[in-house]
């Protein structure tokens, strides 16, 4: 079976000199949960953003669900609608209520009518555990609640893939769990997911595979237990020695 996501020798260079991604090959199977870890500035977020072409690779190919996104004839908006993305900074639309945040793209991209879009929105809000916040504005919510709204907003599009870019890095410690709970639950439903995170406990609990990236390259990949406890490369070992120390 062909993979759901395939990165082929993807490179991303900023300002012609900074090689954020220096030739990454990555395959993600349907239903697989891949967690990308690595030091800050290693290029892991850039790799993730190359999957939905928020960052257009300098070279290489990105194939999602059998279609090359680098092919200019591919409808990028259509392809992106199949990939939900959750950002570190939530990026909710502050001028819209929670409900409108979740219905906007459903109506404009999926062509759903208001009643249908709102039904789906309420369903997704219930799923992330905050059904009562539909009429609130993002500012009135805690960080954890905002991030759950962001997840609901993505899920309402019925994507085939979910991308998470450090979804808990901007959260206070007591809110991390409520967001990770939602993501773990989602992983259990068989959603294809790529998650960039520093939460190693989460990676252990939810990941099928961990990918360690450093200096724009995949250094090591494998099941979480193997990578965490028995890293093959020195760089991986040094990284986990540091972050798993406490």
């Amino acid at each position: 079976m062909s993979p759901m996501i395939e990165l082929r020798n993807v490179r991303k260079t900023f300002n012609k000199t900074i090689h954020a991604v220096a030739g990454v090959d990555l395959e993600v199977a349907e239903g697989e949960v891949v967690v990308i870890v690595g030091p800050s500035g290693s290029g892991k977020s850039t790799v993730l953003r190359c999957i939905n072409l928020l960052e257009v690779p300098t070279s290489g190919d990105v194939i999602v669900d059998g279609r090359s996104l680098m092919d200019a004839s591919t409808d990028l908006d259509e392809a992106r609608a199949e990939m939900g993305m959750v950002f570190q900074g939530f990026n909710l639309f502050p001028h819209l209520t929670v409900l409108d945040n979740i219905t906007l793209a459903q109506k404009k991209v999926r062509g759903r009518d208001t009643a249908e879009a709102e039904r789906v929105a309420h369903e997704q809000l219930a799923r992330v555990g905050i059904p009562e916040k539909a009429d609130s504005y993002p500012r009135q919510l805690s960080g954890g609640q905002q991030q759950r709204v962001a997840i609901a907003r993505s899920l309402a599009m019925n994507p085939k893939i979910m991308l998470f870019d450090e979804p808990t890095s901007a959260l206070d410690p007591e809110m991390i769990k409520e967001v990770l709970d939602v993501i773990v639950e989602l992983a259990a439903t068989g959603m294809t997911m790529v998650v960039v995170t520093h939460e190693m406990g989460f990676a252990r609990a939810a990941a099928d595979r961990v990918v360690f990236i450093d200096e724009g390259l995949i250094v090591e990949t494998g099941p979480p237990e193997d990578v965490f406890t028995n890293p093959q490369s020195d760089r991986t070992k040094a990284f986990f020695d540091k972050i798993l120390a406490y």
Partner: protein, 281 residues
């Protein structure tokens, strides 16, 4: 003293802290008379005093008769110039942030040229040289009346100023908003319309209101071109009657009243606009 250092530091901390209640009490007991908008009363009194003089004093009767007919033209010129400037600023402002190289550079050049020339000389050039040349090149010489040429010139100038406001407003929206829209599958245009503009509007409206008022005041410059608005009429009346105090006092009274009136209208509009936005800042 047992546990000296920690007690000491606690005492010191308490000592510093004890200043807080004082400041608080002083703030809370701020007498209400201190927070009155006296400036507004002063402005109101000045307008009232001027108004009584202009409307009651018999010496002002002729000045009124000669100058007041210009009010309508001033208002009309302001509204038309602002409307056109808004249109120009939308095109040029969005042109500036567009990815299209031609649109971007033409917009930038237009803004830089307009901002590099003082308003009055630019009005001369636009109204007396460029617009007539364009109409002649279009095969219809002298087809644009002076008043309209003058208003067009003002609109073209403020269009450039206001384009900067539009650009600034749109660019003040964090990049993540566009990314969130695009990631959901919205096109760049749809994201602009549904996500960026509604948020940018809040940053855009106050400085736009400022320029609306600035246009009202700058219609006085059109007097140089012979447009019979308030300033022109005041100058004509004063020159023919030698009643300088009456003419210019009446003129300033009209401007002050118009400007204050427009400010009040605009701040009401701003408040209305912000009222729908409960819960967000």
């Amino acid at each position: 003293m047992a546990g000296g250092p920690s007690l000491q530091s606690a005492g010191k901390y308490r000592g510093e802290d004890s200043l807080l209640p004082y400041t608080k009490i002083r703030n809370e007991s701020e007498p209400p008379w201190k927070n009155q908008p006296y400036w507004a009363y002063i402005v109101g009194l000045v307008i009232l005093a001027m108004g009584i003089k202009v409307f009651v004093d018999v010496d002002y009767e002729l000045a009124r008769k000669n100058i007041f007919p210009g009010i309508w033209l001033t208002i009309r010129a302001t509204i038309i110039a602002f409307g056109l400037a808004l249109l120009i600023s939308l095109i040029v402002g969005l042109g500036q942030i567009s990815k299209n190289v031609v649109a971007k550079n033409l917009s930038r050049a237009y803004i830089e040229i307009v901002r590099g020339i003082p308003v009055l000389p630019l009005i001369f050039v636009l109204a007396l040289v460029i617009i007539p040349d364009i109409s002649e090149a279009a095969g219809a010489p002298n087809s644009v009346p002076t008043d309209l040429r003058a208003i067009l010139a003002l609109a073209m100038i403020y269009g450039a100023y206001m384009a900067e406001i539009i650009r600034g407003g749109v660019q003040s929206i964090p990049r993540g908003q566009m990314e969130a829209g695009r990631a959901l599958g919205l096109s760049s245009r749809a994201t602009m319309r549904s996500v960026i503009f509604p948020q940018a509007a809040r940053a855009i409206i106050p400085p736009m209101a400022n320029d609306f008022i600035a246009i009202l005041k700058d219609t006085s410059l059109l007097s140089i071109l012979g447009v019979l608005e308030i300033t022109r009429r005041a100058r004509q009346y004063s020159a023919s009657s030698f009643k300088f105090p009456e003419a210019f006092f009446t003129m300033t009274f009209v401007y002050l009243t118009l400007v204050i009136g427009l400010s009040i209208l605009l701040s009401m509009f701003e408040r209305r606009f912000n009222r729908d936005r409960v819960g967000e800042r």
